[in-house]
């Protein structure tokens, strides 16, 4: 299609479009809690070292320290969040594509 200049007003109208704001909300509903939970879990490790140093350096059955086991579990947490996000993002993609298609149609009128 032929591209033309999109004015600031048109951008604002697109940004206020209900379909777009709903997409934005859906994305935020996933991204914000996921980021917060992730940061809390991650910073739990250094926080634990500050607050409970003896607990963190105590040894678990099998020989790993609590701190080391915590560190290993972070790998699992990261991969888990990745899997969850990749699944959730599929629907975001579909909604974004539908929105872009409609916007193109309206802008070329």
């Amino acid at each position: 299609m032929q591209h033309r200049h999109v004015t600031a007003r048109e951008w604002d109208e697109l940004a206020a479009d209900p379909e777009f704001t709903a997409l934005l909300r859906a994305r935020r509903r996933f991204v914000i809690p996921a980021t917060c939970i992730f940061l809390l879990v991650f910073l739990g490790l250094p926080a634990g070292l500050i607050a409970q140093p003896s607990l963190m350096s105590s040894t678990l059955p099998g020989g790993l320290t609590v701190a080391y086991a915590y560190g290993l579990s972070l790998f699992v947490v990261a991969w888990l969040l990745l899997a969850l996000y990749l699944r959730a993002a599929k629907s975001f993609d579909d909604r974004a594509a539908a929105f872009v298609e409609r916007a193109h149609a309206e802008l070329s009128k």
Binding site: A8, A15, T35, F42, L45, G71, L81, L82, V100
Partner: protein
């Protein structure tokens, strides 16, 4: 080391040069040089991100820190992987949709104005240079190990010049392919080394854990010791987890893919590869600690060189050095944690294995430096020269010339700094680069993408605060000033990152910026849907 070593080394470097030459003919425009024409697929880009990230510093540095300090080194590995969660959730897709060539493009997208772009380019240059020095130091360690007669400064200079040649002819396409090939090689080499370590322990993880525990290496606090140790750990953790989201050469990779979906998938690939790589690298580190022992990790000096060294050594050390030479056939004049992986390879697989690991590590460093230099030269040639100085009037040819000149300059500066910092653990140096990136780039980048009210003034204030405070605190930290340190922590992150965020928020409320608010709608639509990204 033998001639076979040097031959293998030469073959590796040569292969990378051929790729560079092939790609040189295809990256004659700035769009090709910076963004590989936006034709890289998600999986390819994932490998390239992983390749960019699994730098010589990660491999050599983490293996070394784990070998010397156990858990505290492992913390680097964990932090570096999980940092991608932040990139994945907050940045990958918006960046791909809103960006063009450089990070400054994104920050200046709606904030506009020359000053924002200039400051963003300045922070990009600083972070990149810091990161690059670490790579040059690592490369110097390797070359120094391979060629006994070389002094370390000479080794660093040679390594640096090889790197410059790559960048001058390559560009983003060459870099992408060098990264992919090197990423696969590095994973392969690390797996091989891991299998050899496990073989040594009869494939029994409990046996290995027992050996590691005999040195207390799973206990926290060996690197970040003393009363402020836990706080040091927190500071590092914060810098690592936020810093990745501010690394220009990683963020730039999202401009090379054709869609937001590809950007997301590339982070997925990268997180899989990087996670496995770091788990393997910790095994390598523990292997070096238990099989070799840290007193043997450093440049091995043999024969006449060793005898000459002992003759000039401190008389009190001479009996010990002589005993070492008799027993092992070599001496280790100075411990160098950067050499843990190659020295372990030598112990497990002989000189050829050591040469293989060293060659892989060196080509790793080459590839990463190329990516870094492109980020740096992009910041200068595109943001400062083309947009600010020439007001978007200069020719593409001219911009490329400036980009290559910048690459040359950045290369020279990092060689000089690398010589000054030789022997410092490279993962530690990279940790500092992450702190600068997290403080100077991340708050402005994140808030400009998500907060309507965020202003031009606030972005500049936050970037400058983050840059100056993090660099300033490093300059007065124990690593630089030793016992005269004014700032007690090794990593400035815990102070500079929150401060930079706070400055960004406060400065935003000080003064409204209607112009920046007016453009927010466009940015939001474009970043979240990709509408207009290809206009």
């Amino acid at each position: 080391m033998t001639q076979a070593t040097l031959v293998m080394f030469g073959v590796f470097v040569g292969i990378a040069l051929v790729i560079t030459y092939w790609a040189a003919g295809r990256s004659t425009s700035s769009r090709g040089f910076y963004a590989a024409h936006r034709e890289i697929s998600g999986a390819q880009n994932g490998w390239a991100i992983a390749g960019d990230y699994m730098s010589g510093a990660s491999f050599l540095g983490v293996a070394g820190l784990v070998a010397f300090y156990g858990f505290d080194g492992f913390l680097y590995a964990a932090g570096w992987l999980v940092a991608y969660v932040v990139v994945l959730l907050l940045l990958a897709e918006p960046l791909r949709n809103a960006g063009r060539y450089t990070v400054a493009d994104v920050i200046a997208f709606r904030l506009g104005g020359s000053a924002v772009r200039a400051v963003a380019a300045l922070t990009t240059l600083s972070v990149t240079l810091f990161y690059m020095v670490a790579q040059v130091v690592g490369a110097g360690s390797i070359v120094n190990m391979l060629v006994q007669r070389l002094d370390e400064p000479v080794a660093i200079a040679i390594a640096g010049f090889l790197m410059i040649i790559y960048v001058l002819f390559g560009g983003m396409l060459a870099t992408t392919w060098v990264q992919i090939i090197k990423g696969i090689l590095l994973i392969g080499a690390t797996m091989l080394l891991t299998v050899l370590v496990l073989l040594h322990f009869g494939f029994s993880l409990p046996a290995m854990v027992t050996a590691v525990n005999a040195q207390q290496l799973l206990q926290p606090g060996h690197y970040f010791g003393g009363p402020q140790g836990p706080l040091d750990t927190l500071s590092l953790a914060l810098a690592l987890v936020i810093g990745t989201a501010g690394l220009p050469h990683i963020l730039m990779r999202f401009f090379t893919v054709p869609s937001a979906r590809a950007a997301r998938l590339s982070v997925g690939w990268a997180m899989g590869i990087i996670g496995i790589f770091y788990l393997l690298t910790t095994v390598v580190g523990f292997g070096a600690a238990t099989i070799v022992g840290k007193e043997h990790i450093g440049k091995h000096v043999t024969d006449t060189q060793a005898i000459r060294y002992i003759a000039h050594a401190d008389p009190q050390q001479r009996p010990q050095l002589n005993a070492d030479l008799l027993r092992d056939g070599y001496i280790v004049p100075r411990e160098d944690s950067n050499l843990a992986a190659p020295v372990l390879a030598h112990a497990l697989g002989g000189p050829l294995m050591a040469a293989f690991i060293a060659a892989v590590a060196f080509s790793t460093i080459l590839a990463v430096v190329v990516g870094l230099t492109i980020a740096a030269s992009g910041a200068f040639a595109h943001d400062i020269w083309y947009v600010l100085v020439r007001r978007r009037q200069g020719s593409d040819h001219e911009q490329m010339l400036v980009a290559r000149t910048t690459a040359l300059l950045v290369g020279f500066i990092s060689i000089i700094l690398g010589i000054k910092l030789r022997g410092v653990n490279v993962a530690f140096l990279v940790g500092l680069a992450f702190a600068v990136a997290a403080s100077a780039n991340v708050p402005a980048l994140l808030l400009s993408l998500t907060w309507k009210r965020f202003t031009r003034f606030a972005a500049i204030a936050s970037m400058l605060t983050g840059l100056i405070v993090s660099l300033g605190l490093i300059a007065v930290s124990p690593e630089v000033l030793h016992e005269h340190a004014i700032f007690p922590l090794q990593n400035p992150g815990v102070v500079s990152i929150p401060l930079s965020f706070a400055v960004a928020v406060i400065a935003t409320f000080l003064r409204r910026d209607k112009e920046s608010e007016a453009n927010f709608g466009q940015l939001q639509v474009r970043a979240n849907t990709g509408l207009g990204a290809e206009l």
